[in-house]
Symmetry: C2
Subunit: 724 residues, 2 copies
């Protein structure tokens, strides 16, 4: 048997020998109670794995009744996978033994590496170097191993019995213990997980790489990921794009979202998390379903496992309690689904089926009231009629009784339709769990799961467009904004605005005055109220230092403001080269926007857009995109802002303004990619002036080292730090 | 036995004979299978009720082996409660029979009233009049009845077996079916509900009245309410204030929150819901815990049922999986709890208890890793040490194994501490459910429940302050703003601003010009840029009609603007008396606020405050308070705006500005109470100008009928319509 027989593929490197091995050695296998290697070996042999298995134990001639070998070098056949649990002093020599006999992959269960201090960090670095040099793929260390549902490989020391049936859902997680808690929870929920991979400290294989591997497997139809850190965002994005291409949902829970969680993760797998906001935005950009709890993950997985897609929003609710129907309808609305009123003809048909006297409703929710108990068969009859209605895309019946007439009736309707169903039931009847009918104990959970089906059906994950890296533009921008060779923050607003100009973004004009008379002349030339701003190198917080006077509308006031600014400059700006005072027109705008670039520890450059002015801090309404991206992605992101009200409200942006803003977002994305020395960019406020975008102020922070020409070095250094 | 023996009290009317009866008749009791009256009688006799019970059946001499009576008038003893299920044509005569023998309360199970059309509405009106005239208290019609856990009264036709033990949680709901779904769900969840009351169409007793009744019962420690409508907000507020006074949590789920849900509710109990936003705000104002799903309600109830209060935010998390610990810590942060790092001394003690080798963490989350399995007793030992730590206020252990050493160990620690606990367990072990140890299958649900304990401990429900109803002020305001006798919307901005002035709120000054020369003179007098606005009676949307020109900063431009406005007035304003053009200074403000009054169908006047300008529609950041309220309530509301950033951010409001805004909110609340003819008030924008609040524009809508002097008539009419 080769791994190819079960459709294993490895788009990103030779992972097949690791995850689909033709033979397995367990180094550190023993009969000692509580031993990790012993547990791993007994898990392996308790599974359905058909290939040869070799326990390796330095002293014992037998383990669990199998002939044992003192060293992996003594094993009589080739070894694809070595599962290793040995004391730390033996780790490196064990890997060297594996290398000597051509082992393809190692699962390193041993702990005590980077998560446990400086010495562990050094050992981890040696481990990394050793497997790299030997060309061995490594899962771990400090992991729980993996399970391959296709071949029945249990290369792990999980405590709970594992499902033996290959199922549609697969889980990738750094945490082995999460697998330990999550697997029984999933089985209990009716979503048994067949394939799972725990990556631990991620010396080699990451959660993203595991997802990228799992997404190609024919037996895997639902992908689950728990990410405490994300050292390889490009692999994550590749897995997401591939999942969309294959119409497989990728459902992820970000761990270490909070400072508290991040602290816990650091002592757990020595991981440093990126920003939660960025993570959520990137998930939306690439069609990934981001959930916030394990339960939500399993609920959504349950709905997807039924393998029915929801193409429309109309849910038919069937209840015998009006109040429960109200809760279901409320939950449907919150999940952005609809509960369409049924056509009169269908209502008439339903009314015929429901026993009289009947004071409920046939509108939808269909409320049969206690009348249903007069003839329980009517429940399935009514549900069946609803299933046949072209006006309904999904069904959500309330199961009040677990008696056979209801359960079997419901099951019959389920089998006779291809519409998704979300049943409300306090306890899932075993018949429905066996038949994979998604059941939920709460109206909100039922509708949230259906809502995920519906929004996934509509999600568009655009592959990143070709990015027209224009070297000339970057060179020109560097020249105009004097980026080259600069160290520290670049605070000269004019240079920041020039940088935007080079990328085609409109900026406010100004006249530089070096005397009060020049300032007054500039005021006259501009006409109307003006702003006066000091121009000096390397100066932040110029407002706080008295370097800015706004809304000046007379020659006398301009003269006074000029004097005030120069006086403040003399007082505060020692050591800064004051080049003069810029006179800019005041631009009134009812809506102030902002656009910016951050460098996320996980995802690198991300472009944010949202409300600006002082509200940027107070409202915090913003959307983010990872460049490169094109106008369609930018438009979709804008449409999410403030629940769609920035683009949908009459007081918001009109279509031409939206197009201009989307274009500016793309331009800023290209700027971020072409000028990696820009650590952060904040354009705020950004307003519409006579119908055109105009940046009124901008702040750029430059990393001098990167500006020196070592493109991307800082980002690389950060990525290095993360998995140390 | 009298109801007083079990501590029943009735602060709001004589409900004791209804809910704590000394004798019960069931009218319509029968042995017919599927009959509602038969089910009600069998439920009653299957319970622990010790008083006399009388089945009433027109034809059968016996029901369920009990001597039956042809009419309630024939019953041999006094009847406190009559449970009625009769065909609709007999409803009124049955109530008259009850009245004749002095029945104290009726539970009307029959359906077919207002929920089923015009004829049913008329019958319901007759029923209402009949019980009112007879002085009988009525629960229903179209309800499922109630259960009294203290006396064992099962005056209902619920299908599921009811818990016989009087428990701490009580439920009030309009929907009988919800009780049917909710009761088994609650029992399954470990929160058995003893007392419950279903109020149906609420001809007399409402959910609020039921809550107000239940809150006084010694046996009831947790109050649950499901509200599809709220016809008596004052009773609801009274129940909430009393619950706070007695330190009993009131946990409510609003039904019919969405349009979809409201439509379902209307065909269910003919109820019209108030605004969800208002409901949530009023709950916060009065210390009510508002949840959004049944499951959340039961989770939170479970935490409160343990009867341990959480006075601090510090949670101690104990796990054997780092990833699960990360999820717990994330969830704690989202629930606004903390996970404090344990002191070094305690960490050292824990490290001694945990079997080696140990590569987990003692920081908190305490992650014992797989090491725990080497000596399982160490789990309870570590948890016990954490329970003794003064640094931790609550404990949240993860139960990975349901084996006795873990379950009994955990139970021992629970019994030895008075700290709240939220256990994470896929399935709740029966021992823990019996001992009422709150267990949750998901990290977020565990922490959300602890978070509810903590926020409830800090909630302050201020009794409404004395409201200084100043008749003179109201009279003066009416005179200045020419409210009296006016019909239709009052759109004159000046009058609206004058109204605010009368309540002590600063407004922008203006000079009325009736010629272009006067306008130019006004511009010169004001100095700086000005706004010109047409002044005409009964004119809305003056901007759209060309009646407003903003930001005019030269004499020539003023003259042009004046001409433009008067031209627009001649063109568009036929039939409106143009009084001139107001010249106002332009007031620049980086932060535009808004304040307003709405009349909610349920709660009446509510004052809203939030961001203004064009953002009022786009951002929708606002908080609401039901007047009367004092400055402390206003401050607490402001502190909730935008997650606290409007008051907490350096770019937000400083303390003096906050105090001024709180004062204005109180004033607007008094205005809303003193001037009921004001249907709505919108002050937008409201800005700070030289440190003082200044309203720049306002729109008032007046109800002419109310203004005619019939104070409150419209609100009463609305309330009438709701329960029709």
């Amino acid at each position: 048997m080769t791994s190819r027989n079960v459709g294993c593929v490895d788009p990103s490197g030779n992972l097949d020998r690791l995850f689909c091995p033709r033979s397995v050695a367990v180094i550190g296998a023993s009969d000692t109670v509580g031993s990790i290697g012993g547990k791993a070996f007994s898990n392996l042999v308790a599974g359905d794995y058909a290939g040869p298995v070799y326990p390796v134990n330095a002293r014992a001639p037998q383990v669990a009744g199998h002939r044992a070998y003192p060293n992996v070098r003594e094993v009589p056949g080739p070894v694809d996978l070595a599962v290793v649990s040995v004391p730390l002093p033996h780790v490196i020599s064990t890997v060297e033994d594996c290398a000597a006999i051509g082992v393809g992959g190692i699962v390193m269960l041993s702990a005590g590496f980077a998560e446990s201090g400086a010495e562990g960090k050094r050992l981890q670095q040696r481990l990394k170097q050793t497997v790299h040099d030997a060309g061995i793929r490594l899962c771990g260390p400090n992991c729980a191993g993996f399970a391959n549902a296709d071949l029945g490989v249990r290369a792990n020391f999980a405590t709970h019995p594992l499902p033996s049936s290959p199922s549609g859902a697969a889980l990738a997680t750094q945490s082995g213990g999460l697998a330990g808690f999550g697997l029984p929870a999933a089985a209990h929920r009716g979503t048994p997980i067949g394939w799972w991979i725990s990556t631990g400290n991620e010396v080699d294989v990451t959660v993203s790489a595991a997802l990228r591997y799992l997404v190609e497997l024919a037996s895997v139809t639902v992908l689950l990921g728990f990410l405490e850190s994300l050292p390889d965002p490009d692999t994550f994005v590749a897995a997401a794009l591939r999942a969309t291409e294959l119409a497989k949902p990728l459902i992820v829970l970000q761990g270490a979202r909070s400072d508290l969680g991040a602290r816990a993760a650091e002592s757990h797998t020595a991981a440093i998390a990126g920003s939660t906001v960025v993570f959520g935005e990137v998930c939306r950009q690439y069609g990934v379903i981001s959930v916030r709890s394990l339960e939500e993950m399993l609920d959504v997985a349950l709905a997807f496992q039924a393998d029915r897609r929801l193409e429309g929003a109309g849910v038919g609710i069937l209840t015998a309690s009006g109040g429960t129907g109200v809760m279901m309808a409320d939950a449907a609305a919150e999940a952005e689904l609809t509960v369409p009123v049924l056509p009169a003809s269908l209502q008439n048909e339903l009314a015929v089926l429901i026993p009289t006297p009947f004071y409920g409703s046939t509108h939808n929710p269909v409320d049969m009231t206690g009348s249903v108990s007069r003839r329980p068969e009517s429940f399935a009859e009514v549900l069946g009629e609803m299933a046949r209605s072209p006006d309904l895309d999904a069904l959500s019946p309330v199961l009040f009784h677990a008696s056979p007439v209801f359960v079997q009736g419901l099951l019959g309707v389920y089998r006779g339709t291809d519409k998704p169903m979300a049943v409300l039931a306090t306890v899932t009847p075993p018949e429905l769990m066996d038949a994979r009918v998604p059941c939920f104990p709460d109206p909100w959970r039922a509708m949230r799961a259906l809502g995920a089906l519906y929004s996934h059906a509509r999600a568009v994950a655009s592959a990143s467009p070709t990015w027209p890296h224009r070297v000339d533009r970057a060179r020109q921008a560097r020249a105009r904004a004097i980026l080259a060779g600069r160290a520290g923050p670049m605070a000269d607003e004019r240079q920041a605005l020039d940088l935007l100009s080079a990328y085609g973004i409109g900026v406010v004009e100004e006249i530089l005055a070096t005397t009060a008379d020049e300032a007054v002349a500039a005021f006259a030339e501009i006409g109307g109220a003006v702003a006066l701003k000091v121009r000096a190198d390397q100066l932040g917080h110029k407002s706080d230092l008295g370097g800015v006077v706004l809304n000046v509308s007379s020659a006398g006031a301009v003269r006074a403001a000029y004097a005030q600014i120069m006086s403040a400059a003399r007082r505060s700006l020692d050591g800064f080269a004051v080049r003069g005072v810029a006179i800019q027109p005041m631009v009134a705008a009812s809506l102030e926007l902002a656009i910016g670039v951050v460098r996320d520890p996980a995802f690198g450059a991300v472009v944010f857009t949202g409300l600006g002015g002082v509200l940027i801090e107070i409202v915090r309404a913003r959307v983010g995109l990872r460049p490169p991206f094109g106008p369609p992605s930018a438009h979709r992101a804008l449409a999410r802002l403030l629940d769609g009200r920035l683009t949908g409200s009459p007081r918001g942006l009109d279509p031409r303004q939206q197009a201009a803003l989307a274009q500016a977002m793309c331009a800023v994305g290209e700027l971020a990619l072409e000028l990696p020395e820009i650590v952060s960019l904040d354009v705020n406020p950004l307003v519409f002036r006579d119908g055109r975008l105009c940046a009124l102020d901008a702040l750029v922070v430059v990393d001098g080292e990167v500006a020196g020409g070592n493109r991307g070095a800082t980002a690389d250094a950060r990525a290095q730090g993360r998995t140390s």
